[in-house]
């Protein structure tokens, strides 16, 4: 695949969103109380758009991805609305949701080897996936569809009868992506799709993901902890902290003008080729059974004000486009008197970390 990179206008998507999440919440019940892993998340995803979801481990980004798919473990509770092309998929019956997955919604996982059946040939994987949703297709048609998808992902047709163990790590991840896309779903969640891969293979996979919208017209939620991948493969980004999206906007603008102190800290802590000094975020993410009052980031925030410790920040329009939840960005008329004074922080221990 070596088609020239087309710079599509970013942020201008007049069409109806493919996915529209409204106040999505996911709880896990534990003996200590409910873990509020996702706690009121809203976002829209336009056709062909890629949204990067970043945050530290345990911020709820994987739970959100699975929650959107309806793939939560028993004992998890989901609330809020997930609209797929206007239909609420969170209140669908199990059977209807099962029908949607694979055909309309798909997921790409981190460890390809644990998701492929070692006893099945590539051809059988495709036959199983396609037959599930299009039982009328003949074997030859299945083969044709599968080979076409494999070709776009860069797997030669000669490998159609191979077993998963005959593939290298990068080829397996390509196979996973091809399996997820063979039915041309409109929405894909990719959960850390490159984390287990080497840097060169990672770059190849990022390029394939980048080409998805052109080759398949797919909208994607790309979950990653690597902000470099967001910069390369996404149109918009959402920064998640302790179960909430604290800032979202176009990738270019968020990287250039991060408004939320957490976004700033996250971008600064990344070690890149241009790193000349080490920066890190002091402290650890909060316990989601009993998160701090007010803004959940305030105990670690270098810019915290008095209001941050007592009042939940309001979700407002972000200057430069997108949404933000941070008192530093306002609204000023809702901050009580004296609320803008710097907050006296308790000291954080060196080893208090994630």
């Amino acid at each position: 695949m070596s088609i020239e990179l087309i710079d599509e206008p970013v942020g201008v998507h007049p069409q109806e969103p493919v996915i529209s999440a409204r106040d999505v919440r996911v709880w896990y019940g534990t003996t200590r109380g409910a873990i509020r892993a996702v706690d009121g998340v809203s976002f829209d995803l336009a056709p062909g758009e890629t949204l990067g979801l970043v945050g530290e481990s345990g911020c709820g980004k994987s739970t959100l991805g699975r929650g959107l798919m309806g793939l939560l473990p028993d004992g998890a509770k989901r609330d809020g609305q997930v609209l797929f092309k206007g239909r609420d998929i969170s209140s669908m019956s199990r059977k209807a949701a099962y029908q949607m997955r694979g055909r309309e919604l798909a997921m790409i996982f981190q460890e390809p080897m644990t998701r492929l059946n070692p006893l099945m040939r590539v051809s059988q994987h495709f036959e199983e996936t396609i037959k599930q949703h299009a039982p009328a297709l003949s074997r030859a048609e299945v083969r044709e569809r599968a080979l076409e998808t494999l070709r776009l992902i860069g797997i030669p047709p000669t490998r159609y009868k191979s077993y998963p163990h005959e593939f290298s790590g990068g080829m397996r991840q390509r196979l996973m992506i091809a399996l997820a896309l063979v039915l041309r779903p409109a929405f894909v969640v990719a959960d850390e799709p490159t984390t287990a891969l080497d840097v060169l293979v990672e770059a190849q996979i990022v390029q394939i993901l980048n080409d998805l919208r052109r080759n398949f017209g797919t909208s994607m939620l790309l979950i990653t902890h690597n902000v470099g991948i967001v910069a390369e493969a996404c149109d918009r980004m959402a920064v998640m902290y302790a179960g909430r999206i604290v800032e979202q906007g176009s990738v270019v603008d968020v990287f250039k003008n991060p408004r939320h102190p957490y976004t700033r800290a996250l971008l600064r802590s990344t070690i890149s080729l241009r790193t000349t000094g080490l920066n890190f975020i002091p402290g650890a993410p909060p316990d989601l059974v009993d998160p701090p009052d007010g803004c959940r980031f305030h105990p670690r925030c270098p810019d915290a004000m008095n209001v941050c410790a007592t009042h939940n920040p309001v979700n407002i329009e972000r200057p430069g486009g997108g949404r933000i939840e941070c008192w530093l960005s306002g609204p000023d008329d809702q901050i009580p008197a004296g609320g803008k004074q710097p907050l006296k922080q308790e000291g954080l221990a060196v080893a208090d970390e994630a």
Binding site: E4, L5, E56, S57, E144, L147, E148, L150, R151, G154, I155, P156, P157, T158, R159, S168, G169, G170, M171, D198, V199, L200, V201, E202, A203, Q204, V206, Q207, N210, H225, N226, V227, G228, I229, A231, E232, A233, V252, F255, A265, L266, L267, S269, T270, I271, S272, L273, R274, T275, T276, G277, L278, N279, F280, I281, A349, V350, A351, E353, A354
Partner: protein, 427 residues
């Protein structure tokens, strides 16, 4: 924020690795073992020469399968050397008895990648950290505790009383890696071999642990061998970097020089592939193809040539490369063209036996030639074609003859050493 320490001279070699090889014999089935037939050898480390100076940070950088971890383990005698020597204080680690090795591991310690796997879940922080003291003969519990407290303080796990009786499951990833570091420094080692010490950690913690390692080095006068696939952290952390590929060092030199002026095409490709957190930088479209090959049957000539964008006739082209370009060609063809062409070319499996002459076709030489011609005109810049010497008719098919290849040795080139035929010995 602290800046990068000045690179130190490595005139005073602490570890001196000479022509080190670590080979693993592959075991075949029971019949193969009975009759002693050859089932192959994996050359995990294949003739590496490397010195590590006192107080230096040397980075071993490469993809998985490059042999960097095996080399690191060999430094502690954790894998047996097949050939060559590892001199530490003038003694050869590769030749040592188990007892001498145990003694040497007081001075060379290892930090592993996954803190979850490196810590015994049934041991408290105190037991885990102090276990090495017990193994090395410190009998007094009070003495051990004093040393444990001291080590935990050094790695920032204070107040220490809060951590002593905790189990790994009570700790965060960063805290676990601190315990692993405390355990590594408790015997006052000279050298720490750190195998991907930060790659399992959250992005926000990586910088903290890297900073801790720099502080420990300063405070305890440590020497590091830093094994990683992450060039960005290596750039910040290392004084010198060795780029490894399939068991060999392909480029080695001072960090600044390697990054300012990368010579080996592999180093250049690695640098290009790092995702930079800058959305305005366009994604490079000319990424390296393929993956690191199987070390049990490495490519002929230069191991890197099948992926190298700059390879030329002498790089060791062979039959497996022909299979790769044909298959790559088919990923660009519609189904009917693929069907027709694969009929003409025939089975490709025999090309997997490395040879400098490759036969394909079976339905007439002309039709096979035609396919090669089509492939070539479609991708004229493909380096593979530089390696083709001539194409002869061969019965019902054709015979592709490649130029003889050469295996590049590590040669010095303006302050660095590089193993690539593009850089002949500088005089």
């Amino acid at each position: 924020m602290p800046t990068k320490p000045e690179p130190q001279a490595w005139q005073d070699p602490l570890i001196d690795v000479r022509d080190l090889s670590v080979h693993f014999e592959l075991r075949g089935g029971i019949l193969a073992r009975l009759f002693g037939s050859d089932t192959g050898t994996v050359k995990a480390v294949d003739g590496v020469t490397l010195t590590v100076g006192r107080g230096e940070v040397v980075g071993l950088v490469g993809e998985s399968g490059s042999g960097k971890s095996t080399l690191g383990r060999a430094l502690l005698g954790l894998v047996p050397a097949t050939d060559g020597s590892i001199l530490f204080h003038g003694d050869d680690v590769a030749e040592m008895s188990r007892r001498r090795l145990r003694a040497i591991r007081r001075d060379i310690q290892m930090v592993f990648q996954d803190p979850n796997a490196a810590l015994n879940p049934a041991m408290t922080v105190e037991e885990a950290t102090g276990d090495a003291l017990r193994v090395h003969g410190m009998k007094s519990a009070a003495e051990r505790r004093a040393r444990v407290v001291e080590a935990l303080e050094k790695v920032g796990l204070s107040p220490v009383e809060l951590f002593l009786s905790k189990y790994p499951r009570d700790l965060s990833g960063g805290q676990k890696q601190r315990v692993v570091l405390a355990r590594a420094i408790i015997l006052d080692p000279e050298v720490l071999v750190a195998d991907e010490p930060i790659s399992m950690l959250d992005m926000s913690v990586r910088a903290k642990i890297l900073q801790l390692m720099l502080d420990l080095k300063q405070e305890l006068g440590l020497t590091y061998v830093y094994i990683t696939h992450d060039l960005a952290s290596a750039k910040y952390f290392c004084d010198r970097i060795a780029i490894m590929y399939l068991g060999r060092v392909v480029e080695i030199g001072p960090t600044d020089e390697i990054f300012a002026n990368p010579r080996h095409p592999y180093t250049r490709a690695l640098l290009k592939a790092i995702p930079e957190p800058d959305p305005e930088r366009a994604l490079p479209r000319d990424l390296l193809r393929g993956e690191i090959p199987d070390a049990a049957s490495p490519p002929l000539g230069c191991s890197f040539h099948p992926r190298c964008p700059e390879a030329f006739e002498k790089c060791g082209w062979e039959s497996r490369d022909l299979r790769a370009v044909i298959e790559e060609h088919w990923t660009r063809q519609p189904a009917d063209v693929y069907g027709a062409e694969s009929d003409t070319v025939g089975d490709l499996a025999h090309l997997d036996t490395p040879a400098t002459v490759a036969r394909i076709g079976g339905k007439g030489a002309e039709s096979a030639r035609e396919i090669l011609h089509r492939m070539r005109s479609e991708r004229p810049d493909e380096p593979f074609w530089r390696g083709v010497d001539r194409v002869d008719d061969d019965g019902p098919g054709i015979r592709v003859v490649f130029h003889p290849g050469e295996d590049p040795a590590l040669r010095s080139s303006d302050g660095v050493e590089v193993a690539c035929l593009l850089y002949p010995e500088s005089s």
